[in-house]
């Protein structure tokens, strides 16, 4: 098991290096940041001076070496636009994102697992049909549209919930609701179908043959097996939280990572975009690793093969 974890960490480091190379060059494909900084009457000399200041006068190869050197020492540079350390900007945005993302993740997963399992256990009941209807509705309606409609109805028309800001718990209702709406349908369907497969299995039949009460059949014999497939998806959703919810944060004017990423991309603020992308990559790789370890915990066969 330890060996398996070490191998997976090494694989993750190699993947991370690949991601850094790609991020560096892809970001530079978006164009020259000085184009956006200069004013109509800036002189060529002034523009050159800015380029030298930002380190953009050097060749790509040199820039890349500097980038690798700085990042490996944990120096993420300064924003081109705000001239502040990137780490400081992320330090402001990340907590806001987590304040939105973590409650949404918890609510989303609890609802998805509860409704998915209930739907499967009471197959074709009212609960199940509601679950199926909600899942189809949720996947068919674009989340941003639902969010805008919710703002129009609940904050503009009826003025129940505020549409922007983050001061009171009430401010959280619409953005958290939007994020849950994004996560819930797919996850709920996945849990339901995974649970249905397991409930149909021979070992669940055998558990009933033994005379076990239905609650033990479902919570002990079925659930643990049904968890295996949805675990990966849950891990990926969790990793995605750090990147911020680009759509939700922009609709609700939420000063988090998603908005920072979007505005930095538009202003060609290379250091910010690079750092955010790499941070997301680290989270995804880390979540993958955690999911693999969780797999080994749930499924003994994986545990034995890996040790």
């Amino acid at each position: 098991m330890t060996r398996f974890i070490i191998i997976r960490i090494l694989q993750s480091i190699i993947a991370l290096i690949g991601i850094m190379v790609m991020v560096f060059f892809l970001v530079r494909l978006s164009g020259d940041p000085t184009e956006l900084i200069k004013s109509p009457n800036s002189t060529k000399e002034q523009i050159e001076a800015v380029k030298i200041q930002l380190g953009l006068d050097k060749s790509y190869a040199e820039q890349f070496l500097i980038f690798i050197k700085d990042y490996s020492r944990g120096e993420f540079g300064k924003s081109f636009m705000q001239m502040r350390p990137v780490i400081e900007m992320i330090g402001e945005a990340l907590p806001n994102t987590l304040k939105l993302g973590i409650p949404s993740f918890i609510i989303g997963m609890v609802l998805a697992f509860t409704l998915g399992i209930l739907g499967a256990v009471r197959r074709d009941s009212i609960i199940d049909n509601t679950v199926k209807f909600l899942a189809i509705l949720g996947q068919a309606l674009p989340g941003f549209w639902v969010a805008i409609i919710a703002v129009l109805v609940l904050s503009v028309h009826w003025q129940i919930f505020p549409a922007a800001g983050m001061d009171t718990p009430l401010h959280y209702v619409l953005p958290v609701g939007t994020m849950v709406f994004f996560m819930l349908p797919g996850m709920m369907r996945l849990v339901r179908s995974s649970m249905l497969d397991v409930l149909d299995s021979e070992y669940v039949k055998l558990a009933r043959i033994k005379g076990l009460p239905e609650r033990v059949v479902i919570w002990k014999h079925a659930l643990r097996n049904a968890l295996i497939a949805p675990l990966t998806t849950a891990g990926m959703i969790f990793a995605g939280i750090v990147g911020g919810a680009i759509i939700t944060e922009n609709i609700f004017n939420w000063p988090g990572m998603g908005r920072l990423a979007l505005s930095s991309t538009f202003s060609r603020d290379f250091p910010v975009v690079q750092t955010i992308t790499i941070l997301i990559a680290i989270m995804v790789l880390g979540a993958n690793l955690l999911v693999d370890i969780a797999y080994a915990y749930v499924d003994p066969q994986i545990r034995y093969e890996k040790s």
Binding site: Y203, L206, I209, K210, G211, P300, Q301
Partner: protein, 322 residues
Amino acid sequence: MSNVVLQVEDLHTSFFTRMGEVKAVDGVSFLIREGETFGIVGESGCGKSVTGLSIMRLLPEPGGQIVGGKIILEGKNLLELSKKAMRAYRGKIVSMILQDPMSSLNPVYQVGDQIAESVRLHQGLPENMVEPEVISALRLLRIPAPEVRIKEYPFQLSGGMRQRVVGSIAMSCKPRLLIADEPTTALDSTIQAQYIALFEDIQAKTNVAIMFITHDFGVISRICDRVGVMYAGKIVETAPTREIFKAPKHPYTVALIHSVPRLDQKDERLFSIEGQPPSLMNLPPGCRFCPRCTVALDVCKEQQPPEVKISDNHSVSCWRVK
């Protein structure tokens, strides 16, 4: 005669689907005595497994339903029991072995835990007595090194070994009736022979009544004392095994026995019965085997044949048998 353990009387089980009622079991009666092995043989879809699941009262839901008859186990009609009382019977007084050993054990729990669960549930033993009981259940099925096996997971065992574990679970609480639904079909033939010998031995030790469901007459000849031949939801012939091989009376039984491959005959082509069993949603008015029968009479098309007792323990439903 020893005591009757199970008596099934005029059992009717149907599946209610969108297309209509499927009469999977349509008036089946038989009995099994202590220490006896009763075989139910027939093609797939004839209702033999559904008969087994009806006795367990574990029909697939929604849709499966027992619509009539009696299932009397040790003097109690199981169809009159509450759900909770029925659960207390399952695994304790009546148990079942399923066909596929690869999928009938839970992959995420240790073998010992899966047996211990039954022991705890039905025997009310103090916790320090559970493990010895589990080990003795594994010993009964002659599983080598049971002390080691209890800590293993199903994927660490071979198919034959897994089926023995399933047998241990079934026998762990000394049931009076064991329903074995094609327990040897998924095993290869040497393992199959061992498994059958094992059950003869277990039966001699425990006097359990066994209902053995199979499509394989070869297996029947090895283990069963008496046989019921099932066709399209009905038992068409019941007789002692020896007699059914020597003097089968129903044309379907004759054809089935004739289609068992034999090493001592040099037939180039294996005999097979022409046609398909009838749809259980749209049964013919007369004898159900009539459309495939080579010796059918006019009356066979119109009326169902009555059951005729040709000796004490041999009965047939065929117009040709008087």
